[in-house]
């Protein structure tokens, strides 16, 4: 346990020790718990995606044998996934991935481990909040898993839960499932808010002496901005799902207009007067910032990994910081780009188009800044670097495809088609997830004292990269062909029939992609057991965590380090080494950290 003082004393005396270890307030333990949770949901969500893909690639064929164990008889009569089960599966897929895999990884696992180490703090500001944030998130996750098994099936209204489809249970038949979905998100939201508060306060209050704001690595900057976004965005969704739950259970009509019918007869039990579009405004006012919550930490990590492996200062450090703030700030002004075709006033469409175009500019600043970081570098292709480089390209594709949809008339065609699905996955899989893979490879030695296996890692990387592109690039082609998203059987439509081979190809690629991820897990376990022992600073990086032994152990920063420089002093012409740790006072010094 790394925290001192009264808190720890109370722990030791009042609680049994076992419980204290499970409900740990130690940020590294919390990080590991979040990590395990996130990986679990990544695989659960991935499996669901493969079921969805199976139906789309091979409509009407039974789910193949070893994988049909998750299909109940009502879900898949005769082994073929039923339409309502299909809707439940893509809903749970996105819900798992967004809320329970990527967010817990980027707002839970990563900051809890990396943040204190990079700012030279022995602990996070609020250990109890940290502990609560994990357990609330996990509780939310367990509730979400439970929705799969309740009567009426899981929520089947997409991760966006548009009203009135999601507000009135007659419309989907999922009653308890959708209610639990709401409850689960509300609980997760509270958990993430606590974690974000912890993260922001830690950065503001717990930096080592000498570590001024403009000496923070980009990773820490992005944790700061992400934390602020979580604090502002998550309350919105928590309130909105609260209203949705009241519509569902108490008969309020926030999102339910008058005069609705159910299969031809009037809907009873609602006063009406609500606004379906209100839900969309609330959801996307949260939903757009949340996509930046999912990309900014990755951008931070990639910025640092590129600098370390190119042995160069990050190009345009200040511009990188300001563009992070610009993206986060503009991110509040663009939510309407999800609603161009929703019936919102078309004049608003024009404004939201303008703000959305504007947000592409700071994104461009980042891409060009990363490229310029490579320029005249000495690039080593370590595992973290491979993923960071891949991120650079895939994020570029995702950002550029965003511009198509930002154009209001073009969006009239590609909105709610597979073009969007392609965009989402280039930014979230090729973006957030590739950055997470880079982060895993980068900090694995620090966290475990072992290097992540290079050979298996490379195999995983290349397979993932190839299968990723084969899976998600053709989705743009489907979208251009007009292929709607969230449809159970594309062969119903004559205009989609020619595209079916593309669907089949995507499904095969997706299966490859899914199985390739097993290599990562295998690599993690094998490396934990037999991996090469890690030196304190295997990447020869300048930030503070690398002045500690690997793993840092209990006494991390027991001696508070003193910081003398920014984190990007790579390849200084007059220095002996090609990097200077942030703790090193003189250009020719070797550092004053706790380096062993």
């Amino acid at each position: 346990m790394s925290n001192q003082g009264a808190g720890a004393l109370i722990d030791a005396t009042v609680r049994p020790r076992r419980l204290a270890r499970i409900f740990s307030r130690d940020h590294t333990v919390i990080a590991k718990q979040f990590f395990a949770m996130s990986i679990f949901f990544l695989f659960a969500g991935g499996l669901l995606a493969l079921f969805v893909r199976w139906q789309l690639g091979f409509p009407g064929s039974a789910v193949p044998v070893p994988f049909n164990f998750l299909m109940t008889r009502t879900m898949a009569p005769g082994g073929v996934i039923a339409p309502d089960a299909f809707n439940g599966m893509f809903t749970l897929h996105a819900t798992f991935m967004v809320y329970f895999a990527v967010l817990p990884m980027l707002v839970g696992a990563l900051p809890n481990f990396v943040l204190p180490l990079q700012i030279g703090s022995p602990r996070m500001a609020f250990p109890t909040l940290g502990m609560l944030s994990f357990w609330l998130s996990l509780l939310g996750g367990l509730l979400m898993i439970a929705t799969y098994f309740v009567d009426g099936g899981p929520a089947s209204t997409g991760w966006t839960a548009y009203a009135p489809l999601a507000a009135v249970s007659h419309y989907t038949g999922s009653s308890a499932g959708q209610n639990l979905w709401i409850l689960s998100l509300a609980i997760l939201g509270i958990g993430l808010i606590l974690g974000a508060a912890n993260q922001v306060v830690t950065i503001v209050n717990h930096r080592a002496p000498g570590l001024t704001m403009f000496r923070l690595p980009l990773t820490v900057w992005s944790f700061l901005v992400t934390g602020l976004l979580v604090l502002l965005a998550l309350p919105v969704i928590t309130a909105a799902v609260g209203m949705l739950l009241m519509d569902r259970t108490l008969g309020t009509s926030f999102f339910v207009p008058a005069g609705l019918s159910v299969s031809g007869s009037p809907l009873a039990g609602y006063a009406g007067g609500g606004q379906p579009l209100l839900w969309q405004h609330l959801f996307w006012f949260f939903g757009h910032p949340v996509v930046y919550i999912m990309i900014l930490p990755g951008m931070g990590v990639v910025s640092d990994v590129l600098a370390v492996f190119a042995r160069k200062p990050l190009f345009g450090y200040r511009a990188m910081i300001y563009s992070t703030f610009a993206i986060a700030g503009l991110g509040w002004l663009v939510w309407g780009h999800h609603m161009f075709q929703s019936g919102m006033n078309p004049l608003l469409g024009t404004t939201f188009m303008a703000s959305t175009m504007a947000i592409a500019i700071p994104s461009g600043v980042k891409v060009f800044g990363w490229l310029a970081t490579l320029w005249r570098g000495q690039i080593r292709f370590g595992l973290p670097m491979l993923f960071a480089l891949a991120f650079l390209l895939t994020f570029t594709v995702g950002g550029l495809s965003g511009i198509f949809m930002a154009s209001t008339p073009v969006d009239a065609f590609i909105h709610d088609t597979y073009f969007i699905v392609g965009h989402i996955h280039y930014v979230l899989f090729g973006g957030s997830l590739f950055a997470i893979f880079a982060a895993i490879a980068y900090w694995f030695p620090k966290a475990t004292g072992r290097m992540l296996g290079e050979r298996l890692g490379r195999l995983h990387f290349w397979l993932t990269l190839a299968a990723f592109n084969c899976t998600f690039f053709p989705m743009h082609i489907l979208g251009i062909g007009g292929h709607m998203r969230r449809i159970y059987d594309p062969t119903v439509y004559a205009f989609l029939r020619d595209l079916q081979p593309v669907n089949t190809f995507i499904t095969i690629s997706a299966i490859t992609l899914g199985f390739a991820q097993l290599l990562l897990v295998a690599n993690i376990f094998l490396s934990l057991k037999n991996g090469r022992r890690a030196e304190p600073n295997p990447w020869r990086a300048a930030t503070l965590e690398w002045t500690l032994p690997s793993p840092p152990g209990d006494g991390a920063f027991a001696v508070v380090p003193e910081v003398h420089r920014w984190p990007y002093d790579y390849s200084l012409p007059n220095a002996i080494e090609d990097y200077l740790p942030q703790t090193s006072l003189h250009v020719n010094g070797t550092g004053t950290g706790t380096d062993s």
Binding site: A82, P164, S263, R311, K312, G343, R380, L392, G482
Partner: protein, 277 residues
């Protein structure tokens, strides 16, 4: 010359070493995909084998396509630029013993350029977009000079309503249809969408048009199809378990043919109400 060639060769070789695995994987996947996909589409109908935009059937659709192509060119140029620089840097600046990276921290001029150039492109795209957007969604043809049809989608069908002989809606002589929309060619058609239960979205791929139908409010779209033809109407907004099969047909008749069709429906309606009386 020869020396330069051999340098090039060795460079290519070292690139090849780490490019070979992905290239191989891509080939493998491609092979698997085409094999698996070959079966079920043998009977692909008159559409031809098109993996691109469906044929554009209205003037607005043509405008949207030109915009799409414009954005495609601009974004492709950026992508090519980024990829070219990326490949060049990754090869040129890979680690070699005895070399040291340049300690460059930034360059104000470069940073201004790479904000200004994309900004100019984005402004151009937005400007070009806004014209088409106004034409689609703001500058509606006058109702008195158009055919107005009300479409009331519900789980999972399109209820279609035409004004009857009195030229008004919500009267006894309204003409109704399900999942079938008949319109004349060459005339402005305004569709008023009034969802009865959840949100649906009226989508005709060949028109490049999509408009959500929201319960509690009326949304509108308009189109003018110059030539007769038959199109599929798809629901583009998730609306429940039958969302995928919420399909309609849009039939564009030659004007005279449409008038005959409409007159026929009027007669039927009159006979119906006479019988009921």
């Amino acid at each position: 010359m020869r020396a330069r060639l051999s340098i090039l060769r060795s460079r290519l070789h070292s690139v090849g070493r780490w490019a070979a695995p992905p290239a191989f994987a891509v080939l493998l996947l491609l092979a698997a995909g085409t094999r698996a996909g070959a079966g079920p589409v043998a009977d692909s109908s008159s559409h031809g084998h098109r993996w691109w935009l469906p044929a554009a059937s209205t003037a607005v659709a043509g405008r949207i396509d030109s915009l799409f192509i414009l954005i495609l060119w601009i974004t492709s140029a950026f992508l090519v630029l980024v990829v070219a620089l990326f490949v060049a840097f990754v090869i040129r600046y890979r680690h070699r013993e005895g070399r040291r990276a340049a300690h460059v921290t930034g360059n104000m001029l470069l940073e201004i350029v790479w904000m200004a150039v994309p900004a100019a492109c984005l402004i151009a795209i937005a400007y070009a977009s806004n014209g088409a957007w106004s034409a689609m969604k703001e500058e509606f043809p006058r109702e008195s000079e158009s055919l107005v049809i009300i479409v009331k989608p519900r789980q999972f069908q399109w209820d279609v309503v035409y004004a009857g002989a009195d030229g008004r809606f919500e009267t006894a002589d309204d003409i109704t249809a399900i999942n079938r929309l008949d319109v004349p060619a060459g005339r402005n058609v305004i569709v008023k969408l009034m969802a009865q239960d959840v949100i649906h979205s009226f989508f005709v791929p060949q028109f490049r048009m999509k408009q959500d139908a929201v319960p509690g409010m009326t949304t509108e779209m308009w189109f003018n199809v110059p030539a007769p033809g038959t199109f599929e109407i798809a629901c583009a907004e998730l609306c429940g378990l039958g969302h995928y099969r919420m399909q309609g047909r849009l039939i564009v008749h030659a004007p005279a043919e449409y008038d005959a069709w409409y007159a026929g429906r009027l007669r039927e309606k009159a006979a119906e109400s006479a019988n009921a009386r």
